[in-house]
Symmetry: C2
Subunit: 338 residues, 2 copies
């Protein structure tokens, strides 16, 4: 079976499924990394386990038939919200998939479709996808970070995801740069970079700043009609572009926090490149400028650190589908047992 | 040559040389990790480059002859003070080896003795030695830290040293847990764990505490005859054992800082085990107790973190010689190019 199978293998498609709290995206990819079909549907997570699982299974089913059944498929990569175990394909108890508890997702999919399946967390897979198809093509050792509602990271070593003993490595968002921070992280710790620089953290810091600087006029008050709950990272970015002092300060502080933290990551990993993705990262220049300025100040080898490329992520739409499918590409598939 | 060479290789000895600012230690090791000879001599670093290099070379010479020349040697592993480049064997400009500037140490030794040589930094090599011969035997993926005058770390993945792109990875001592700390690190950054929890940091914090608590009696004042400059980590440990409140506070704080930081390292690496060595770590229980208590509070997966063994280092004397020689043991020698 294995013999002479290479050519056949290369003609097979890989299915990538990206399961989120609100929607499930799926696609079929060639071994060359070309997405030949993609679909999307609501997760119906609110309906509980049976409802969301059936949405996922029916999406897989459609793609399965489009690929010509199990003979046409190399494997099915599944991105699920954490915590999960990529070694065993177990989805533990994701907060945004109500009712899911210790679901052997890989096993369920394998049994149902007769195709090998793997489960992975989204930041790890997105990092791998950026190395194989995106911003970091040409690099083997990359630190990936996505800054959006949370901060997720992926450690890619030799084009493979580094998993750690229990499959939970790469939680760089939960490195504290301020152990006595007033900002408590969702994980319970204080001063995690996620608690300081993810989207909700920008909003919280801006809200606090508006209270402190209550005598200073700010566009942010107008843009939110004086309702702080309406603040979003996007509004802060817009106000900063229009010169608002408080908004500019918040972005500068965010770039500084990310710079302090990335310097630590560079000190640890000395990567060939860093890739920065996610909604908050799309604020772009006002953020990256401070980040670039800060890194050398907190890096032990400022010259090496300054020369480490900090690349904006390239894959936007379908990054999850790319990442999921990448788990079955030769370079991604051989991931060692850690 | 390669064919049938395995048995012969296994009968050869490996030389390990540990170059410090005050002394050079060297030894010969069997492929089974047994140290069959060891020597030590002063570095004569104050005499400049020529003087210290000649001390090193003459030590290598004695061991070279003891091993029966180049035919009896598999390789020469050299630990030098950083910064250095393990990929090229270049020692850049170590502060405690005056006059050394971009010294191609591996090349010098290879040319002189006709034996393959490698250069490595001390914490990396000590970590590898602990995995191969010490506290972490049986584990493949280990985070190593030595807490003494500085804090050095080594990332061991699959029984190999992880080097990074420029050979400067694993600088975990320069991860800041307090970006606005009053304690500036030797590297220029603020709040690095080295600036908070290495030996000199314990002393600085105790000195500051004695000033703040100037009305509170403390054994530390007696033990130093009221000369704060005489404080050492050992005196602090001794006073703590005798119940001194300030000394106990300093050790507790040190365990807390190390715990916050190790939680971040566990979040990133999810290692099979952590090994903690160095003089400060020898303070033992009063430090490790707080460290163990702190880690779960700052870890994203408290249960996994709690189950990650935190092992005291086992190799004390000759750890450098073991580590240097380990660079030529099969598992250590194949280190990939990162």
């Amino acid at each position: 079976m294995a013999r002479g199978g290479l050519q056949k293998t290369m003609r097979k498609l890989i299915m990538g499924i990206d399961i989120g709290g609100t929607k499930v995206a799926g696609g079929l990819m060639t071994a060359q990394g070309r997405l030949v079909k993609s679909l999307i549907r609501p997760t119906h997570a609110g309906g509980g386990y049976a409802s969301s699982l059936s949405q996922i299974i029916s999406l897989i089913e459609r793609l399965y038939h489009a690929a010509g059944g199990s003979d046409g498929l190399e494997g099915i990569g599944l991105l699920a919200p954490g915590p999960l175990n990529p070694h065993t394909g177990l989805v533990i108890n994701p907060p945004n998939l109500p009712g899911w508890e210790n679901v052997r997702l890989a096993e369920i999919v394998e049994k149902r479709f007769g195709v090998k399946a793997k489960v992975e967390n989204d930041a790890n897979a997105a990092g791998l996808a950026e190395v194989l198809f995106g911003a970091a093509v040409g690099y083997r050792h990359v630190f990936y970070v996505t800054v959006s509602t949370g901060i997720g990271t992926g450690i890619i070593i030799n084009k493979k995801i580094y998993h750690g003993k229990n499959g939970v490595a790469g939680e760089g968002g939960h490195v504290s740069i301020d152990y006595q921070s007033p900002y408590r992280c969702g994980c319970g710790s204080l001063g995690c970079i996620e608690a300081l620089a993810a989207g909700p953290a920008l909003v919280r810091r801006a809200q606090a700043r508006l209270l402190q600087e209550h005598t200073q006029p700010s566009l942010l008050r107008d843009l939110t009609q004086h309702q702080p709950a309406r603040l979003t990272p996007q509004l802060i970015a817009r106000a900063a572009l229009r010169g608002d002092a408080i908004a500019k300060f918040i972005l500068k502080e965010t770039g500084f926090f990310l710079g302090v933290w990335l310097a630590a990551m560079i000190n640890l990993f000395d990567p060939e490149a860093v890739v920065v993705g996610g909604g908050v990262a799309q604020i772009g220049k006002p953020l990256f400028k401070t980040l670039h300025e800060t890194i050398p100040h907190y890096a032990i080898n400022p010259n090496f650190a300054r020369r480490t490329p900090i690349l904006p992520a390239k894959l936007k739409k379908n990054v999850g589908v790319y990442g999921a499918a990448a788990l079955f590409l030769p370079a991604g598939a051989e991931a060692e047992n850690f």
